[in-house]
């Protein structure tokens, strides 16, 4: 009984960490993806400075997700990571490049073009790898006797390429709407134009992934379209349609904050859709959260720390966002 509760609690904590990571690092990775389209000089500096104060706090959620998965669901960690090995390595190396670029591009004007390339390439690779990892998990992982039993290129498929592109486009949308909020002048106009295109592209990607998923396995089909469940699951696309409509309306109307918040809402709905497709599995159709769970004493020991520290993290993060509220200048916040 106690064990079951703890396992659900940890599934919730890790799910939350992953979502927090996706939306928070999502917009700063998105800015990296869009970076080549910004003019060298003020526009790039402004874009970089708008995320410089928060990107590393955002990435801590990734460590929290990975560390938490190892501790609370060691079997899932031990299956998913080898199954998506090249993707995870590519993501980490991408994050190294873009992470150091934040620091290094200011140190020597002669090196700046180099670190700008590292920043956008690293961001793009990390986003693509994350999206493809999602696709690889959704399409199913070959598990035998509680261990990964597939080859090292199983993750590569048209579906995982589709989810990879979807995440790249979605992150770029978050980045563009973030800039609509945080910048002014020509930079903002540019970001608004990008957001319009990226909003359309994100919806198309979302539709494509949603349409493809039920055909991956009958289980997904049943979850979404079987009779009593459909009354509930049909709300998700309905809400997506409403959110999307409001998004384009707010963008045209010239709102500054609403487009970003609505883009977040789109991600939340996408995440809820994933939850419907996957829960209670952690490796779809192979390993449930209870199969993968660490024993209660391990989960409880960590829960004590998480209950104390996660709220502090949230408070600290909110404080940081509050301190750096308002528009960013070309040389940072004033």
């Amino acid at each position: 009984m106690g064990g079951i509760d703890l396992t659900i609690a940890w599934a919730g904590i890790i799910g939350f960490a992953v979502f927090a990571y996706v939306v928070m690092d999502g917009f700063d990775l998105g800015i990296g993806i869009l970076f080549p389209s910004f003019a060298v000089g003020d526009e790039r500096n402004q874009a970089m400075n708008s995320v410089a104060p928060v990107w590393d706090g955002n990435e801590t959620w990734l460590v929290m997700g990975g560390g938490g998965l190892l501790a609370a669901f060691p079997l899932a960690y031990a299956i998913i990571l080898p199954a998506t090995y090249p993707l995870i390595i590519a993501m980490l190396l991408g994050l190294v490049f873009r992470g150091v670029a934040f620091e290094f591009r200011w140190r020597d004007p002669r090196h700046r073009p180099l670190w700008d390339v590292a920043f956008s390439l690293g961001s793009g690779v990390a986003a693509l790898a994350q999206g493809m990892t999602l696709g690889a998990i959704l399409q199913g992982i070959h598990v035998e006797a509680g261990a990964y039993a597939g080859g090292w290129l199983d993750w590569l498929s048209p579906f995982s390429l589709l989810t990879g592109m979807a995440v790249v486009v979605g992150y770029a949308l978050l980045g563009a709407t973030w800039l609509v909020w945080k910048t002014e002048g020509p930079g903002q106009i540019h970001a608004r134009r990008l957001a319009l295109w990226l909003g359309t592209a994100t919806l198309a990607m979302l539709a494509a992934v949603s349409a493809a998923t039920p055909f991956l396995a009958y289980d997904y089909w049943r979850r979404w379209f079987a009779m009593p469940a459909v009354l509930l699951t049909a709300q998700v696309p309905l809400l997506v349609a409403i959110t999307a409509g409001t998004f384009f309306w707010s963008l045209r109307r010239g709102d500054e904050r609403l487009p970003f918040l609505l883009a977040l809402a789109l991600f939340l709905l996408g995440f809820a859709g994933l939850g419907i497709s996957i829960y209670p599995y952690v490796v779809p159709r192979a390993v449930t959260i209870w199969d993968a769970a660490a024993p209660p004493q391990s989960q409880l020991f960590m829960l004590v720390g998480a209950v104390v520290i996660v709220p502090i993290m949230l408070a600290y993060t909110s404080w940081a966002y509050w301190v750096f509220r308002g528009k960013v200048g070309t040389h940072g916040y004033h």
Binding site: A52, D56, Y77, E103
Partner: protein, 466 residues
């Protein structure tokens, strides 16, 4: 090359690279606390200048530690999935606590440190500095607990899935037999490493300008630290060695090159070329009885040899034999430097003995080499196990193909040397600038939430950062 060797090489490479940064930031965080404390106590601007000088360097070191640390939290799963699945219930929570403290105590308060003393007031700022230093020590404690449990596993049971799980309380797992010794030895090593870097930088600037007050103070503090801490480290190292002899005798015998049992007292082999294949040390130079004197504190005490253990359970003796000697030799060199500094101080020549300063510059990076050599000794000495005596390395790795591991290893090597090489170059540039009166605070824009260096921490390289 098979996938296991490649996976080991990859883990060794990424963890060694990562370890360099905390080895420096643990010591530097405490040094910053001392500097700020001295400043608040004496109100001498000199200490504030030194604080700001080293804070800029600390910020970059810390940032590179975080970036290389993210990689570590995924290396266990990508390359060592069987180990992760089996040991996750024990190792996972310890590392999760490390993450929680590292990222949220250190990173959070570093943001306040960099935000500037004029913004938050003296009391809160000093508190933040203390918390960052405490955070580095707490996160070292968790990670050493996890590592020590792999060396001396206790307090576990094995469940139906074949996993190691806590048998009851977490206390015996955390405070496992080798933990206190390894923690003391590692933290002292971090302090010693930092004092050598600080001393090296101070000496570098003294060679150019003997009158620079900042350089004089940092050199003097570093020389005190070296002469006081190097002997303590030798005592701690000796105790750690005796503990290892008790719990992992094969590791110590490999470090000593003792293949054959010595019933009447073992010699101390100074140099030679150990060969596991021939089970002997070629070209050995040895001092009779000294080995037993060191390890048993009795020249005639019997010591076993590696031959007493099955051959397939031997660690690779040539590696640990030499890594151990490199560490010990550097330890003695550090003590020598400290004593030299003491003599110079006694004769009032601390700031004008040029050869002392040259030696201090040469010894600046010695701590890093010693730390990595020590780490290699203890980790390679643990072989052929990941969890000593219980789980072999050959049974711990992920189901991976060699080309995948080889490619990713190559990618790590290229990216790390490029990215962290650039970072090291920027740090050296900061160090090459002498500490000046009126050292500027790190400019507060663009500032970071979780504390990694603001882009402007370098201060000098940014035009128009206001």
């Amino acid at each position: 090359m098979d996938a296991v060797i490649l996976a080991r090489a990859q883990f060794a490479f990424t963890v060694s690279f990562h370890f360099i940064f905390p080895a420096f930031s643990i010591g530097l965080a405490s040094y910053l606390t001392v500097l700020e404390g001295l400043w608040l106590k004496t109100s001498r601007g000199l200490y504030a200048n030194l604080y700001r000088y080293w804070l800029k360097i600390f910020a970059i070191v810390f940032g590179m530690g975080v970036v290389s640390g993210i990689v570590m939290s995924y290396q266990f799963g990508t390359n060592w999935s069987v180990f992760s699945a089996k040991a996750g219930p024990v190792i996972g929570p310890l590392m999760a606590y490390e993450v929680l403290t590292a990222f949220f105590l250190e990173a959070g308060f570093l943001g306040v440190m960099l935000f500037g003393i004029s913004k938050v007031g003296r009391g809160l700022h000093f508190f933040a500095t203390c918390m960052v230093a405490l955070g580095t020590l707490i996160s070292a404690t968790w990670i050493i607990a996890a590592n020590s449990w792999m060396q001396t596993p206790v307090g576990y049971a094995i469940n139906a899935k074949g996993q190691f799980v806590p048998a009851g309380s977490w206390l015996p797992i955390i405070f496992n037999p080798s933990f206190p010794f390894r923690l003391a030895h590692t933290v002292i090593a971090a302090y010693l490493t930092t004092s050598l870097v600080v001393g090296g930088v101070g000496a570098w600037h003294l060679l150019k300008d003997k009158a620079n007050p900042g350089a004089r103070t940092m050199f003097s503090m570093a020389m005190w630290m070296a002469v006081l801490v190097a002997p303590i480290q030798m005592v701690a190292g000796d105790a750690h060695g005796l503990n290892t002899l008790k719990h992992q005798p094969a590791k110590v015998l490999a470090m000593e090159g003792d293949y054959h049992p010595s019933p009447d007292g073992a010699p101390l082999i100074l140099f030679g070329l150990p060969s596991n294949a021939e089970a002997r040390v070629r070209y050995e130079v040895a001092i009779p009885k000294l080995g037993s004197l060191i390890l048993k504190h009795d020249p005639n005490a019997a010591l076993p040899g590696l031959m007493d253990f099955p051959r397939d359970k031997w660690p690779p003796a040539p590696i640990v034999f030499w890594s151990f000697r490199i560490m010990v030799a550097l330890g003695f060199a550090m003590l020598g430097l400290g004593l030299w500094g003491l003599v110079a101080r006694a004769r009032s020549h601390l700031y004008d003995w040029t050869w002392l300063h040259r030696a201090a510059v040469a010894m600046g990076p010695a701590g890093f080499v010693a730390v990595i050599a020590g780490w290699v000794t203890t980790e390679v000495g643990r072989q052929p196990y990941t969890i000593y005596g219980l789980l072999e390395t050959a049974q711990s790795h992920s189901p991976l193909a060699a080309p995948a591991v080889a490619t990713s290893l190559l990618a790590f090597v290229l990216v790390y040397f490029f990215a962290f090489g650039a970072g090291t170059m920027y740090i050296l540039r900061l160090m090459a600038r002498p500490p000046e009166p009126g050292e500027p605070e790190p400019l507060h824009i663009p500032q970071h939430a979780a504390g990694i260096t603001p882009a402007s921490a370098a201060g000098d390289a940014i035009p128009a950062a206001e």
